[in-house]
């Protein structure tokens, strides 16, 4: 924290002992290039979290209400395996499958998609986040979906509502608090992601975490790295505050 206010002299590691305090490290962060990284981190994270919920919710619902006991156990087993499986392994697997030298390259070129275009790499980073978000969200939502009384949707259906509308009016609103907190958990995970954008983004798509590491590793500007860290800490604490607010609202609504 203190380090972030020290003046940085280029060409040496860390701040000079007793360097004067300055706000310059923070002012630098107001520049468009850093703002761009922050915005991109949030954009990709929010989209990935929303898509993650869109996949995880039907999966959790079907695992609880539709699948046979064996399929249900298999789904839960797969999700726990994925959570425990190294994120590095999963990121590498995605790069090997969808990346610029991956096995799908001929298909991508045939479809006219350039695997090195910026939006494709952004999508790939999003896919990496998604690979982590879906299992976590599914496991988080299982309990919540289990607690929703299935007779409510049945009642709506017997009163003439189509099944999708019955769920839209009963199951989803009743699991809304869980959906909100699953979204915020995914968002905290995504905005602090480090390995995923580093491997899949190949230096073209940077997240805030990568900027911190670059400040430290490549140019040894500790004070600036510390300033980015403090900003990031603040941002993620705001999101965490959102999580606890959502939980409190949920407890009250139960």
């Amino acid at each position: 924290m203190v380090e972030s206010f020290r003046e940085f002299t280029p060409g040496r590691v860390g701040s000079v002992a007793g360097a004067p305090f300055t706000f310059a490290n923070y002012l630098e962060l107001a520049s468009p290039s850093f703002a761009g990284v922050l915005i991109e981190t949030f954009e990709i994270s929010i989209v990935a979290s929303l898509v993650g919920l869109l996949i995880a919710f039907p999966l959790a619902y079907c695992a609880v209400r539709r699948f046979s006991a064996r399929w249900r156990a298999a789904t839960i087993g797969l999700m726990i395996t994925l959570v425990l499986l190294s994120m590095l392994v999963r990121t590498y697997a995605l790069e090997l499958t969808f990346g610029s030298v991956g096995v799908l390259r001929p298909l991508l070129l045939w479809l006219g998609i350039s695997p090195t275009s910026r939006w494709y790499i952004e999508g790939l980073v999003g896919a990496g986040l998604l690979h982590a978000i879906v299992p976590i969200c599914t496991l988080t939502l299982l309990g919540a979906v289990q607690n929703v009384d299935p007779r409510l949707a049945d009642a709506a259906k017997s009163l003439g509502a189509p099944a999708w509308k019955a769920h839209l009016d009963t199951t989803i609103p009743l699991s809304l608090p869980a959906l909100v907190s699953a979204f915020l958990v995914s968002l905290t995970f995504s905005i602090s992601a480090f390995v995923i954008p580093m491997v899949l983004g190949k230096g073209r798509v940077l997240f805030v975490s990568n900027v911190i590491y670059n400040r430290f590793g490549d140019i040894a500007n500790y004070p600036s790295g510390a300033a980015v860290s403090v900003v990031m800490l603040g941002v993620s604490l705001i999101v965490v505050y959102g999580v606890s607010r959502a939980q409190r609202l949920r407890r009250r609504s139960l």
Binding site: T81, L85, A93, T97, T188, S229
Partner: protein
């Protein structure tokens, strides 16, 4: 068309959409891992098309012939085992203490213990680096161990605490009434009751420690590094299939962890251990 046939049509469409989403989701989760596993056994010397014309283990030979892999793997395993052991004790003790505690500030203490979950890993790593070098700890191994204990502690505390909260306290009381000492009651009654939580926490701590890059990257020194850090560095330099072989190796370790969990806890019961409480 009558309203009921419209209703049936819309239901069928919605059902089809849900099935498509689930199938696409599961394929997306599983397919890349299967591709990687298959390519790790590819007999060719380059990254080529699927399916591989022949299978061989030469990528594994190449993997284990590289010094950085062997050194990284042994450091990783040492750190993970030590961090897990330290955490079963610290986390267990903290959980038992917090479970009994009635003093004000108990919630704040718990939040402090769980805070590494909230703080981005890179910030933790960076802060630890600055802090440890100010304190004078510069050995790579000691720094890594500190970092890993800190980032895995929330998992052991949470899992142990939730099994403590879920146990029947009357069993301990009964033992005390029947003349057991506090110590006997703790070791003979409480510990067996919370075993599943402790095991779950330990397995998660081990897995998190084996996987961490973001914190470890700051704390390594030129001679002490963990396998994931070495792999990431190698991945940036060259992109060949030795890393696919390493991925299969790490997946093997995860499989062992899953078997331990299945044997000692049961996969369906893990959901009750508080790690996925939103």
């Amino acid at each position: 068309m009558s309203t009921s046939s419209i209703r049936r049509l819309s239901d069928r469409l919605a059902m089809a959409a849900v099935v498509v989403v689930i199938v696409v989701g599961l394929v997306f989760l599983a397919a890349p891992l299967l591709v990687t596993a298959l390519l790790a056994f590819d007999a060719r010397n380059y990254l080529g098309q699927l399916p591989p014309p022949a299978l061989s283990l030469h990528w594994f030979d190449k993997l284990f012939s590289q010094d950085y892999v062997v050194a990284g793997l042994s450091t990783s395993l040492e750190i993970a085992v030590l961090a897990t052991l330290v955490n079963v004790f610290i986390g267990g003790a903290a959980a038992v203490g917090l479970d009994r505690a009635t003093f004000p500030g108990k919630d704040a203490l718990l939040s402090a213990f769980l805070s590494p979950l909230m703080v981005p890993a890179v910030v933790t790593g960076f802060a630890l680096l600055l802090f440890l070098s100010n304190v004078g700890i510069v050995s790579g191994f000691a720094r890594l161990l500190c970092g890993h204990v800190i980032i895995t502690l929330p998992y052991t505390i949470r899992a142990t605490l939730s099994s403590l909260v879920g146990r029947d306290p009357r069993l301990t009381e009964a033992a005390l009434v029947l003349g057991a000492t506090e110590r006997q009651a703790f070791w003979n009654i409480t510990v067996p009751l919370i075993r599943t939580g402790v095991v779950t926490g330990a397995v998660f701590a081990f897995a998190i420690s084996m996987d961490d890059v973001a914190v470890s990257m700051f704390l390594t020194d030129p001679t002490t590094y963990t396998l994931p850090v070495a792999l990431v560095a190698n991945m940036r330099a060259s992109f060949d299939l030795t890393i696919a072989a390493a991925a299969v190796l790490l997946t093997g370790i995860t499989t062992v962890l899953i078997l331990i969990l299945e044997r000692l806890v049961g996969l369906d019961r893990i959901l009750g251990q508080g790690l996925f409480r939103s």
